[in-house]
């Protein structure tokens, strides 16, 4: 027998004066291979067309559908209902501005992050269309790609206690972005340059090591190891200046 699934969903439409924040319950019958992508669309199309949520690629690649699923920030599209209990609570990601119901505005947050973290290759080399490409070892390419896999779903940001308390904190996603450029030999910035970006309590020293990011990242990015590496590297960059005889 198919299970009857219950979803308790956060409801609020800030654009509608008549809307008050509340939890609303929906019931649907489970079908084989059902994911939250299928379930939520079923609810919208059959029960409440006003229900707001975000999906895009529905394949875990684009990061649109981050939400809190039974207390855990997750991508809804790759959450199979067979892995869920009979009653599931769905909440929008915190930290980001609410658009409505389960939909939040991650775009604005991340675009600000690109500026704060200077998320691009810094180089004074000009591109020469007639020259062959600059060489790079495949290992380096893979190392960059490994950190470039972030899909900006916002789960790490939403799970981060520091980000929740301190809006100016760069959050795991911002710090990881800097780590991505640190391993890229095409970027000419050195440790001192990176220190200017993340060497503060708004940057890596603000991280309190709660590891909620590490535990929730749907892409399994090496957050813990990278954040530790960044703190050590930036710590050393700072401490070097305390050693007498070194130029400050």
């Amino acid at each position: 027998m198919a299970r009857m699934l219950t979803f308790n969903i956060f409801r609020f439409n800030p654009q509608d004066e008549g809307s008050k924040p509340k939890m609303q319950t929906f019931k649907i019958e489970e079908t084989d291979s059902m994911t939250l992508f299928i379930a939520l669309h079923k609810i919208r199309e059959e029960q409440d067309p006003s229900l707001m949520f975000d999906f895009c690629c529905r394949a875990g690649i684009c990061g649109a559908c981050g939400m809190i699923i039974n207390g855990r920030p997750e991508l809804a599209c790759h959450t199979k209902t067979k892995d869920l209990p009979k009653v599931t609570t769905l909440m929008p990601l915190p930290v980001f501005k609410l658009v409505g119901d389960l939909s939040v505005d991650t775009g604005t947050w991340f675009r600000q992050m690109y500026q704060n973290s200077e998320s691009w290759i810094h180089t004074n080399k000009e591109f020469d269309p007639n020259a062959p490409e600059e060489r790079m070892s495949n290992e380096t390419a893979n190392a960059i790609y490994d950190l470039d896999r972030c899909i900006e779903c916002g789960c790490c940001v939403a799970s981060c206690g520091t980000a929740r308390m301190r809006p100016e904190f760069m959050a795991p996603a911002g710090l990881m972005r800097v780590a991505r450029f640190m391993v890229d030999p095409r970027d000419q910035r050195d440790s001192e340059d990176f220190y200017e970006i993340i060497g503060s309590d708004e940057g890596v020293f603000g991280c309190m090591g709660l590891l909620a990011c590490e535990d929730t990242c749907p892409k399994d990015l090496p957050l813990q190891d990278q954040l530790g590496y960044l703190r050590k590297k930036m710590g050393i960059t700072a401490i070097k200046h305390l050693i007498p005889g070194r130029k400050g």
Binding site: A212, G228, R231
Partner: protein, 230 residues
């Protein structure tokens, strides 16, 4: 801050201060952990014999280590608190947000951090009070030596209403230390994704062992007070 234009606050001034502060937070933390472990091993000598305890106490006192260390430890404790306070949720909305956050997301390490914040505040008050009480006590004549710290004076405090106080202090200190040393390892990259489960078990084991050890010390002191009729 030599440049006057920075005084306006309109120019972002580059500073390494946050790096230094974070580094010293770690150093002070490590210092306190090492001290607390040594402290526990010292008081645990009472398990072997009260005379050994008194002998070690005499060593510290005769070399004035006890007084000097007491003052230094108190200062480190206060510094550590001030350094760590940079991250604490002192503003009402901050505390509200982090509590709601912990309630929203189902995540143990986040709860552990809250425990650390609360235990840190308790330690600041109870720990300093403890240092003050111990070091300002009237010296007693134990085996011909004038001692401020002795098995007898400790036993008498435990027997005369301080037991609960020490039970609480023991618990908060060990929990704080356990979480603290795990978190230091994580924050500074010495505990990796791969070794994290291992260190979590170590954290638990160390915390539990020290609590057991502490309880045993308190029990021994209580017994000692009965035996010696204090």
């Amino acid at each position: 801050m030599s440049s006057k234009h920075l005084r306006t606050g309109h120019v972002r001034s580059f500073s390494r201060m946050d790096g230094y502060l974070d580094f010293f937070q770690m150093l002070s933390g490590i210092g306190l952990i090492l001290f607390m472990w040594s402290h526990m091993f010292f008081v645990a000598t009472v398990l072997l014999s009260p005379r050994l305890f008194n002998f070690v106490a005499w060593l510290f006192e005769a070399t004035y280590m006890a007084n000097v260390a007491g003052v230094i430890i108190a200062m480190i404790l206060i510094s550590h608190f001030i350094l760590a306070a940079r991250k604490m949720p002192f503003k009402r909305n901050e505390f509200g947000e982090i509590t709601k956050h912990a309630l929203l997301i189902n995540h143990k390490d986040t709860w552990k951090w809250l425990i650390q914040v609360v235990s840190g505040m308790i330690i600041l008050v109870m720990g300093l009070a403890h240092v003050w009480v111990v070091l300002s006590a009237e010296p007693m004549n134990i085996g011909g030596k004038e001692l401020i710290i002795s098995a007898t004076s400790s036993a008498s405090r435990v027997a005369n209403g301080w037991l609960l106080y020490y039970m609480v202090l023991l618990l908060v200190v060990e929990v704080h230390i356990g979480i603290g040393f795990y978190r230091l390892g994580v924050k500074w990259g010495y505990i990796s994704r791969e070794t994290r489960p291992f260190w979590k078990r170590i954290e638990l084991a160390v915390t539990a062992s020290f609590i057991v050890l502490g309880v045993a010390v308190l029990y021994t002191l209580l017994k000692y007070s009965e035996v010696s009729g204090i």
